[in-house]
Amino acid sequence: MEVCLNGGRVLKETMKVGPQGQSKLGSMKFRLEPQLLVQIHQLMVKSRVLEERLIRMYKQSDGYFWIGGPGEEAFNVPLGLQVKKGQGLDFDYLHLHYRSGAIVTALGMEPVDALRQMKNTVTDPYSGGRNFSNHFSKKAWNIVPISSTIETQYVTAIGSAIAQRRHGGNGITIVNGGDAGTAEGDFASCLIWSTRPGNELPILMIVTNNEWGISTHASTQHGDGQISDRGKAFGMKTRTIHGNDVEESYFALKEAINYVRTERKPFLLEAKVSRLYGHSSATGCNLVTEEEDCLETFEKKLEASGILTRKKMNEIREKDTSQILELAQKVKQEPMPDPSTIYDFIYWGQKGRYW
């Protein structure tokens, strides 16, 4: 089987397996091809190293605030790899929240640009130094501006999905957010609008469930069961998965994305993930050792399967760490925005104070 990845690169996806379901590599349990597994690993490492550099930048006063998604790479990288990347209705629209760095890394983001946003330089291509880290925006890839407002992405997603339903083709709308935000009415709005009888929308609703809302644990606020079950009341296809598992994530996303692309109907996918550095810099952004580290889990499997050695994986991480450090040092030399530009682009194409 082959899959079209990331705007045109075609990689072989699954391995030929033996009669017992095991690969030709013997004891490994993977179903994905080694080449793809290595690619996923590289992207997970790059994303993790980038997040850790962003955190260090914050701690070294090279940024005012950090928020991001370390701990969600096993789910977010496979998601990014299966996005139909491009501009316009024929491609996927992404209404993301601020823990989506690994998705955007998998789409091909240059790490230096995330560093620029952290440092608020004028070279920040996502907001020109105006927004927090991991608040991406890129029209050429249909990434609508990420907002700190919790859950509003679930109502804006309705609109692009309506446009894509009318347009046809196989472009879909993908929206993600955390579990705590599902208490907001906007989450219910998305369920209702995406399942209007006769007007079902091609929308993939994703909830990455880390069981936390800043300092508040879900068990103290939510008496409901699985979040994905809420979709069942609307007749939606739903699923809850272990989002720290790369392959489970990859194939669940594949199933959900294919369903939405072809059936033009919504799918609610809940992925249980970890939050490895707390909510944000507001809560210290220190490593949480009690939660599963999906990268560590994946690397153990890769090593056990013989796909990558520990030495090789260390080399990959060291290389990324070195390169991203070098980029961070470069970014520190880049200029800040000019104060005279504060009025620019209040209206599209407008510069300077206009009133």
């Binding site: 501006p145 109502v155 609109g159 709308t173 709005s189 609008w193 599209w348």
Partner: protein
């Protein structure tokens, strides 16, 4: 049907109503300007809007009763490049979308100019129909606090048409405030393309584009064939009554009252200049300041509540830019700072500016010693 193009001034009582003007502009928008969705609660058939502003439109549809969903969907449609008009049924119910309006207004700015948002949100505002506490709110004071939008409020059918056309051509988000008290008023100027301005023409237009009260399942509108893209440019005010002694700036429901006051006072020898702001943001300061420099006295009139009222900003601008030309304190006449407009007639009349209070305020400003 062949209809003349251009604006003609004729007697009152023969032209389209303000709500018919909006409807015709929306029809022009969906047939000529790329409008693909006109939606909101009860916007589609059979009702076509609680004020009938969307009757008979081919792209109109009913949404769930969900203001946040409506505004959010509009933002998403705009981001995907599809032009839409979303309605919130009364502005009293738009307050729970404030953060989404903030979000919509910052898409270009937050993305450093990468994204634009070509959407229009429209909502009925103000008092005048005995709408009680939750159908009488105004929204101009709140909306003008939200950057990134262009905000309009017409006071007559011709402007209602031309401002809507301007909104539908605009690449940025636009907020179209509909003064509900004026929905059924008829203008003094012909909308290019509307039927001949005779009593028969008025009746003809009603038969053509107003849905019947009875079964309308088979009803289809017959739109005037000559409608044009007559546009009232955003950010351009209009002097509706020329005068020398005071400038009165208003918009929406209170504008005709100000014009009426000016006519009445003219008989007493008081010369009042009345300006219809039309676009609240960005507003036509060049037009306003030229008039204020001429009259040296100014009164701002609107019906939103008086504390942190938009008129207060205009007074600030007047003081900062024109303090030394003023011969009297600039004044604001606005709605009382109370939670809502009470239903009983004496309560509503006392809560918002009326003809009597406007005349009194004009007299006070004009008579103030320099």
């Amino acid at each position: 049907m062949t209809l003349s193009i251009g604006v003609r001034r004729v007697g009152i009582g023969k032209m389209a109503t303000l709500v018919q003007a909006i409807r015709m502009a929306l029809h022009y928008g969906e047939t000529h300007l790329g409008v693909k969705d006109i939606f909101g609660e009860d916007v589609g058939p059979p009702l076509g809007g609680v004020f009938t502003a969307t009757q008979g439109l081919k792209t109109s549809w009913n949404s769930p009763l969900d203001e946040r969903g409506i505004v959010g969907a509009a933002i998403g449609l705009g981001l995907s490049g599809d032009r839409c008009v979303a309605e919130v049924q009364f502005c009293d119910y738009i307050y729970n979308t404030i953060d989404l309006l903030k979000l919509g207004g910052m898409q270009s700015w937050a993305s450093h100019g990468d994204w634009n948002l070509p959407i229009t949100v429209m909502t009925p505002v103000g008092s005048g129909i005995r709408g009680s506490i939750y159908h009488s709110h105004s929204f101009d004071a709140t909306m003008t606090h939200i950057p990134g939008w262009k905000i309009v409020m017409p006071s007559n059918p011709l402007d209602a048409y031309g401002l809507m056309i301007a909104c539908l051509k605009e690449p940025n988000p636009t907020m179209y405030l509909k003064p509900k008290a004026l929905m059924r008023i008829r203008g003094q100027e012909q909308i290019p393309g509307e039927p001949p301005l005779t009593p028969e023409g008025e009746k003809l237009l009603k038969e053509m584009i107003d849905a019947p009260l009875a079964d309308r399942s088979r009803w289809r509108p017959q739109w005037p064939s000559g409608l044009t893209d007559y546009t009232v440019e955003l950010g351009v005010a209009k002097t509706v009554h020329e005068g020398e002694q005071i400038t009165v700036v208003s918009y929406g429901r209170t504008l005709p009252l100000c014009a009426q006051a000016a006519s009445q006072l003219q008989k007493e020898g008081v010369s009042v200049e009345v300006i219809d702001l039309r676009t609240l943001w960005p507003y036509d300061w060049e037009h306003l300041s030229a008039s204020i420099e001429k009259t040296r006295r100014v009164l701002f009139v609107n019906e939103d509540t008086e504390v942190t009222n938009f008129g207060e900003h205009l007074i600030r601008r007047t003081i900062e830019d024109l303090f030394y030309v003023l011969e009297a304190r600039p004044r604001l006449l606005a709605g009382a700072f109370i939670p809502g407009v009470g239903l009983a007639d004496p309560l509503e009349m006392a809560s918002t500016p009326q003809i009597g209070s406007i005349i009194q305020a004009i007299r006070e400003v004009v008579s103030e010693q320099a």
